[in-house]
């Protein structure tokens, strides 16, 4: 997928991805550690808050305890009549705002021998102090826990919270202090002094200090009963164990046990009424073995972390966006010139080398590439200019060479039959030039009425030098022939002339013959040329092909002092002489084999009844079918003269 995308996309993709990953790592690390630190602080704060609240309640309870304790002491150590007791009790309730009500409950006949039950009770009601005697009516005070338990234990005690039906008519907890009289050296319980606290009032005390925004505190009794709670319907109706049961939460049950055992701790918790996740700190109230729980809503506790994280994430995203913008800018600055270069390349590819390249703005890699590209463009331009020139001059040379070739070929006699009306002989010559300019040539002409001179030659090497040398040689041959009729002499003179200033050591192989058209006698000389073939006719249509015996004179142009011999051969009527250059026998086929003397002889035998023209055409065809696709490397030249007889 990424392979087809541009650099900008890849840069943005990878940098944003890796930047995002780094950010996430840092964020996670930060979140983890800041959370640990903050939670530690939260726990410390929670503990301080809970303990101070517990102390506050403890102080209230201790203050409540003091009042009945003092009264009990007073009752034990002084006699006190009814009016005095009433006055004391009333003022006690009136002067202690934390006390809801107070009573002195006497043992039967404990106050007055005539009075079975006596328990004067003052309590607050709608801002005034009410009085009732708990000993009257159906209220049997000595059956209540607040009376029974301290009496039996012989020590002061807090009651479990209860609804005082028939007494204070409210939810309360009572602190009861027994008081005694000395009777026959024995301590005998005379009654119980009590002080009540109103749970509604206690609730106000407990909730007087705010816990964060929505946190709160509640109290449970030593049995786990919820004593105070912001939700009033829970008070006295629910226990911590009941909540644990309802939630099927063994951990909460365990926490409840710890609470009533008087332990303290910091635990995760869900609010009893709203089920909101909270942290809870619980601490004991030593006076009455109750336990205070303070609930801190989790979201408020971690509000700082959450806010911090929000800021960090916002910063991170902003940073990534900034990074992306920066990358887009950088990528743009890289890809814009590259895109321009792509366009320029396409333009150059279709041959327009004058295209404008993007300006180099920075000395970075792109700038260097542009510079290199500019250099390449200029070099290409220069190269193409040079190439165009070279090609043009090469074309000119080639066309000139072709013209040279045409001129070279045009100086060879090409009209056949050349001497119509001459029946004594049949002559034909052909040249198949190689692609490259070569140096083969042939010539024939009458010296006088009955002497036909024929020449074949092959200049060493190829190209223009060979062509020029060939032209010079051919001209010289004709010129010298007009002075002498002796082939050896002609060759000797031509050789001398060609040696003049022949620095390049060029040479030419020449065979020259002069046929007496009356007698059939040929005078000939050879300058390094391959010997001609004689086609001899015998009796009864028999014939033979054999090389002409030649003395091997040196190639012409090699040594100034060379002397060439004239030799003689007689052609009988129907005899023929076949002269050729080595292009014939050295023609090569695909297997690298040469056409060879043998094949040439076989062809000549096959074609011996044909005319000179047909024979040469046949051999040309034979060579072509032998060589097939192999390019011709040398000129192929052949000439044949068949003697028909003197013709008189």
């Amino acid at each position: 997928m990424l392979r087809t995308k541009g650099i900008a996309f890849k840069l943005i993709f990878f940098y944003t991805l890796s930047g995002g990953l780094i950010f996430l790592l840092i964020f996670g690390f930060n979140y983890y550690f800041s959370r640990i630190i903050i939670e530690k602080n939260v726990e410390d704060n929670a503990r301080n808050l809970a303990l101070s609240k517990a102390n506050q309640i403890e102080a209230v309870l201790r203050a409540v305890q003091k009042v009945p304790e003092n009264l009990a002491y007073y009752l034990e150590n002084s006699s006190c009549d009814n009016n005095e007791l009433m006055r004391l009790l009333r003022s006690l309730v009136q002067n202690n705002p934390e006390i809801y009500g107070a009573a002195v409950a006497f043992e039967p006949y404990g106050f007055d021998k005539k009075l079975l039950h006596f328990a004067p009770y003052f309590f607050k009601s709608d801002g005034s102090i009410e009085f009732t005697d708990l000993g009257k009516g159906s209220y049997r005070y000595n059956a209540w826990d607040w009376y029974q338990i301290p009496k039996e234990l012989n020590m002061p005690a807090w009651s479990e919270p209860y609804y005082d039906e028939g007494g204070g008519y409210t939810l309360m907890a009572t602190y009861s202090v027994p008081f005694y009289k000395q009777s026959g050296g024995k301590k005998q319980c005379r009654g119980i002094v009590t002080a009540d606290i109103n749970l509604a009032w206690l609730q106000e005390v407990v909730s007087s200090t705010k816990v964060l925004q929505t946190g709160y505190a509640f109290l449970i009794s030593k049995n786990g009963i919820i004593v105070t709670h912001p939700s009033k319907e829970l008070i006295m109706n629910e226990t911590i164990f009941g909540v644990a049961e309802a939630r099927d939460d063994p951990q909460l049950r365990d926490i409840g046990r710890k609470m009533i055992r008087g332990e303290s701790g910091f635990v995760p918790f869900r609010s009893i009424d709203s089920e909101k996740p909270c942290w809870m700190y619980y601490a004991p109230i030593p006076s009455n073995n109750w336990s205070l729980a303070v609930l801190f809503p989790r979201d408020e506790l971690v509000a700082d972390i959450t806010r911090l994280n929000g800021i960090v994430i916002a910063l991170g995203i902003a940073g990534l966006l900034l990074l992306s913008v920066a990358i887009v800018f950088i990528a743009h600055s890289i890809t814009t010139p590259l895109r321009a270069m792509v366009q320029a390349t396409k333009t150059i590819a279709i041959g327009n080398l004058d295209v404008e390249l993007p300006p180099v703005r920075f000395e970075d890699e792109v700038g260097k590439l542009t510079e290199a590209f500019r250099y390449m463009k200029e070099s290409l331009k220069e190269y193409i200019r040079a190439l165009t020139e070279t090609t043009a001059s090469k074309e000119r040379i080639e066309s000139e060479l072709k013209i040279a070739r045409d001129i070279q070929m045009s100086i060879l006699p090409k009209v056949f039959p050349p001497f119509p009306g001459r029946t004594e002989f049949d002559i034909y010559a052909a040249i198949e030039p190689a692609r490259e300019v070569g140096g083969d040539f042939y010539d024939f002409f009458f010296i006088d009425d009955n002497h036909l001179c024929f020449v074949i030659g092959d200049v060493s090497g190829k190209g223009v030098p060979a062509a020029l040398f060939m032209a010079v040689t051919k001209t010289l041959m004709k010129a010298k022939t007009s002075q002498d009729a002796d082939p050896g002499m002609i060759l000797t003179k031509v050789n001398k002339d060609l040696n003049q200033g022949n620095e390049a050591c060029m040479f030419v192989t020449i065979f020259i013959g002069i046929l007496n058209t009356t007698t059939g006698e040929i005078l000939y000389a050879n300058g390094g040329h391959n010997p001609p073939l004689m086609i001899r006719s015998g009796d009864n249509l028999s014939f033979a092909v054999e090389p002409l015996p030649v003395s091997h004179g040196l190639v012409v142009g090699a040594m100034e002092e060379s002397i060439y011999q004239t030799e003689t051969v007689i052609l009988k009527p129907r005899d023929a002489i076949f002269v050729y250059t080595d292009g014939v026998t050295e023609a090569m086929n695909e297997q690298g084999e040469l056409f060879s003397d043998d094949r040439l002889k076989k062809q000549l035998i096959k074609l011996h009844r044909k005319s000179a023209q047909e024979t040469i055409a046949g051999i040309m065809k034979g060579i072509a079918s032998f060589a097939r696709e192999v390019p011709q490397s040398d000129d192929i030249t052949m000439m044949m003269i068949r003697f028909h007889g003197g013709g008189e």
Binding site: D458, G461, M506, F507, T509, G527, H529, H552, V555, A558
Partner: protein, 110 residues
């Protein structure tokens, strides 16, 4: 074409192998021209390994021999055989150069 040269009894013996044609002849000519300009002037060319020689090859031999002539040097041949010997015969080169049957006889001649 491959050229190996060694010196023996004051002569540079040149072993030529392969084909000597328009393409390779300049190499032969340059090689020997270099030796001549260093002062060597007796060469024995051993053509035992030469399979083919074209007119360009003959021309380079001629060119070398002319250079040697100016310096009064010598060029000798040995190891002629087959088509190469034939070409030497046809071109008349056998008439202007000294050709020996073996290196020993050629060296003795010097």
């Amino acid at each position: 074409m491959e050229i190996q040269t060694r010196k023996e009894k004051g002569a540079i013996i040149v072993l030529v192998k392969g084909r000597m044609d328009a393409l390779t002849a300049p190499e032969f000519e340059n090689d020997l021209s270099g030796q001549i300009s260093k002062g060597e002037n007796i060469f024995l060319i051993n053509l035992t390994g030469l399979e083919y020689i074209s007119s360009a090859g003959l021309r380079s031999i001629l060119s070398i021999s002319k250079k040697l002539k100016e310096k009064r040097g010598k060029i000798l041949f040995t190891g002629l055989h087959g088509p190469v010997e034939e070409i030497f015969t046809i071109s008349g080169f056998d008439s202007i150069f000294k050709i020996f049957l073996s290196e020993e006889t050629a060296l003795n001649e010097i």
